[in-house]
């Protein structure tokens, strides 16, 4: 192997490494409207450090507030939405993800139940 071909192979190796390097930058978005909030994040996160969180209410009788959180299987994408309404109002949430994603619902256990007056 001549010095010339050695340099060229190094250049190819460098290109290959650059091409294989995963993008590490995160992207996130938060939205709010009145008492509604939503958050979405894409990028590398630790499995135990999920960012998107719904309203962690375990009171399934409370239909004033409800939320949804979605985590992709590999943890690199997550989205959440939480909503609340005044007594007598109605609310709904939905979530979904790529195959294998986990969707968690919080709050009211009846999607058609109105808030208690």
């Amino acid at each position: 192997m001549t010095p010339h071909t050695l340099k060229l192979s190094h250049a190819y190796l460098l290109l290959a490494c650059l091409a294989a390097t995963p993008a590490l930058a995160q992207a996130s978005a938060s939205v709010a409207a009145g008492a509604l909030t939503g958050h979405a994040q894409a990028g590398p996160v630790q499995k135990h450090d999920r960012v998107a969180r719904g309203p962690r209410t375990d009171d399934t009788r409370n239909c004033d507030t409800r939320g949804v959180t979605v985590h992709s299987l590999n943890g690199s994408s997550s989205a959440s939405a939480s909503v609340s309404t005044s007594p007598g109002g109605s609310s709904a949430v939905a979530g979904g993800g790529s195959p294998g994603a986990t969707t968690e619902f919080f709050g009211c256990d009846d999607n058609k139940k109105r808030s208690t007056r």
Binding site: L8, A11, Y12, L15, A16, L18, A19, P22, A23, A25, Q26, A27, S28, A29, S30, V31, A32, A33, G34, A35, L36, T37, G38, H39, A40, Q41, A42, G43, G67, V68, T69, V70, S72, L73, N74, G75, S76, S77, S78, A79, S80, A81, S82, V83, S84, T85, G88, G89, S90, S91, A92, V93, A94, G95, G96, G97, S98, P99, A101, R114
Partner: protein
């Protein structure tokens, strides 16, 4: 020429990998209110793409308060996700409405919220908000 040709091949193989990796997240939200009626909806989505894994998540929400209310939220799809959230509140001629649509595609997220408030005798007041993000080509 002998050295340039292999270099062109190497770049050609490397380029698609540059363009297909990254993350994007976007969302939109809106509220409308008239009289004692209010309606809000929102959506947020994220997509992540690497040379080994693709992932997407979408969350939608809607709420309404007033005399007569209606809310609905849904997410459909597997790889390309489509989400809808709609809220409406009305009594007689007064109506507030908000509708959010989100699309998670392989390399982009797009959300759009349209709101409308209307009272008898006046024109409807409308607004639109959009959020859009694309995995940048590198």
């Amino acid at each position: 020429m002998k050295t340039a040709l292999p270099l062109i091949f190497a770049l050609a193989f490397a380029t698609p990998a540059f363009a297909q990796q990254g993350n994007a997240a976007a969302g939109s939200a809106g509220s409308a209110a008239v009289g004692g009626n209010s309606a809000s909806s929102l959506g947020g989505g994220a997509v992540s793409k690497s040379h080994t894994d693709d992932a997407a998540a979408l969350g939608m929400g809607a709420s309404a308060a007033g005399d007569k209310t209606k809310t609905r939220a849904a997410v459909h799809g597997n790889n390309n996700l489509n989400g809808n959230a709609m809220a409406m509140a009305h009594n007689g001629g007064e109506m507030a409405k908000s509708h959010t649509v989100c699309h998670d595609r392989s390399d982009s997220v797009e959300c759009r919220t349209k709101t409308m408030a209307h009272e008898p005798g006046g024109p409807p007041v409308k607004s639109t908000s959009e959020g859009q993000a694309t995995i940048p080509a590198q």
